[in-house]
């Protein structure tokens, strides 16, 4: 009688532990997906702002063809990107291209006085910051997920559920720090 009772208790305890891990793993996985869609939204938003920026800048920067072309190219790469890493790489390209565009813009006082341009610059900087924070949050969440999935006893349940550790987004060394543009 007593061994049977202990057996039942053991099964119930294990089932409860499994349940809590199951929920945790699923919840974290959903959070990763959500974090990714957050990045995706911001990438699109940023890409959508580019044509406007081009339109505003075109009239002023006639002689800066290569700078403008780089921005357009980077935007096209974002639109084409499929995997998360491709997306991030294209975004880094765009960040670099925009940085040189804004640097060149310093030489055009008329452009710098243009309200439309200023607003676009603010908004692009804002989306860029949002993207880097979204990336950071994505990686934070992946780290949490991996910690659950790779450590004992989570690793057992994760195997049973067929879940594996996720890949973090690789961010190039020089852009690891959030670029700060003084206002």
């Amino acid at each position: 009688m007593i061994p049977l009772l202990m057996g039942i208790i053991l099964v119930v305890v294990v089932a409860l532990i499994f349940l809590s891990y199951y929920n945790r793993i699923i919840r974290l996985e959903n959070r990763i997906d959500n974090a990714w869609s957050q990045i995706d939204v911001q990438l699109r938003r940023r890409a959508d702002l580019i044509p406007n920026l081009m339109e505003t800048v075109k009239g002023y920067m006639k002689h800066e063809r290569s700078v403008l072309e780089n921005v357009t190219k980077a935007r096209a790469a974002i639109m084409k990107a499929k995997t998360p890493q491709e997306n991030i790489d294209a975004d880094n390209m765009l960040t670099g291209a925009l940085k040189s565009l804004f640097a060149v813009a310093e030489n055009y006082p008329d452009l710098k006085a243009n309200q439309n341009f200023l607003q676009l610059q603010d908004e692009l900087t804002h989306t860029e910051d949002k993207i880097s924070y979204a990336r950071q949050h994505y990686n934070d969440t992946v780290l949490k997920f991996n910690n659950v999935v790779e450590t004992f006893p989570g690793v057992i349940f994760a195997r049973m559920m067929g879940k594996q550790e996720r890949e973090m987004l690789k961010i190039p060394e020089e852009s690891r720090e959030v670029p700060k543009i003084a206002f």
Binding site: R31, A35, Q38, D122, H126, D129, K130, Y133, A134, Q136, H137, D140, T141, K144, E177, V178, K180, I181, A182, F183
Partner: protein
């Protein structure tokens, strides 16, 4: 311990603290009933519903009363400074993985900020116009990160509930002691068999306000450190918040305009004496906070 573990522990503590405060409030009402000469059953039947009702009311009006006390208004996106504030709040919400709180502005030349709201879904982050003018992007980001951490850690819930209960206990104890002094004690003077119990209850009524206030302050100070640490984790830049705190310290006003009701919620207490370390302080000393941020 990881920041993550701290937050989990904090959430658990939140429940315990709120329960403890409710029990304390109830015990005060019970003791008053006892001293006044009501039978224990009667004191319970009256005391418990009153305590719970009071907390429910404080809870549901908390956000409105804080915003009203601070005379805060929603940030105006057509002004560049306030638009950038809205942007920063959005960015920090993304970093924390929380719904975006509403950005509010308080017209004041002081540098300060606070967060309020019962749940993260309806949270508000309020920053003074002085802070918007005097802090640079990095420092503002540090401040917003700190406030976002308060939201993430459910500190605002504890702060609102405990502030309400501490106030209620102080008020009740005051009324009871006055009533006893003028009225010369309750009507149930049957004999001396309960005299010890009465004395204990009386001492409790005298001490409860002090005790509840100290408990609240201890929690508040501890949570400021945690919000600093977690804020720095969100921005990945402890230096931003450290510099903001330095500016706040250098800028502390001689005649604080901030409301005393809101003082414990602010990122730094606007009343100057809070620079010293004391068990009566709502915040840890600013210098110590800066030192801890710099050592991260």
């Amino acid at each position: 311990m990881l920041v993550e573990d701290h937050i989990r522990k904090n959430k658990r503590d939140t429940v315990i603290i709120c329960m403890f405060m409710v029990i304390l409030l109830f015990a005060v009402i019970f003791s008053i009933g006892l001293v006044m000469g009501f039978p224990p059953f009667f004191a319970t039947a009256i005391g418990l519903p009153v305590a719970l009702l009071y907390i429910a009311v404080t809870y549901s009006f908390s956000v409105k009363s804080v915003i009203a006390a601070a005379k805060a208004r929603p940030a105006n996106p057509s002004r560049r400074e306030e638009k950038l504030l809205i942007y920063k709040v959005e960015e920090m919400a993304i970093a924390a993985g929380l719904p975006t709180p509403r950005a509010y502005v308080q017209d004041s030349s002081d540098i300060n900020a606070f967060a309020t709201g019962k749940r993260p879904e309806e949270a508000i982050i309020c920053v003074t116009t002085g802070a918007l003018r005097k802090l640079n992007t990095e420092e503002l980001e540090g401040v917003i990160g700190h406030e976002m951490s308060h939201i993430q850690n459910r500190d605002i819930l504890v702060a609102t509930v405990t502030v309400g209960i501490v106030g209620a206990i102080a008020l009740l104890a005051e009324i009871a002691l006055r009533a006893l002094f003028w009225g010369g004690g309750g009507r149930g003077k049957k004999g001396g068999e309960n005299i010890i119990l009465l004395v204990v209850a009386l001492i409790f009524i005298v001490l409860a306000p002090i005790f509840s206030r100290l408990t609240y302050l201890a929690i508040s100070r501890k949570r400021e450190y945690l919000a600093d640490a977690n804020g720095a984790y969100l921005t990945r830049n402890p230096e931003g918040l450290a510099r903001a705190l330095e500016k706040i310290k250098a800028d502390l006003p001689d005649d604080p305009k901030g409301s005393k009701t809101v003082a414990p919620l602010y990122i730094a207490n606007p009343f100057k004496r809070s620079l010293r370390d004391s068990i009566w302080a709502t915040h840890p000393p600013i210098d110590e906070r800066i030192k801890r941020l710099r050592s991260m």
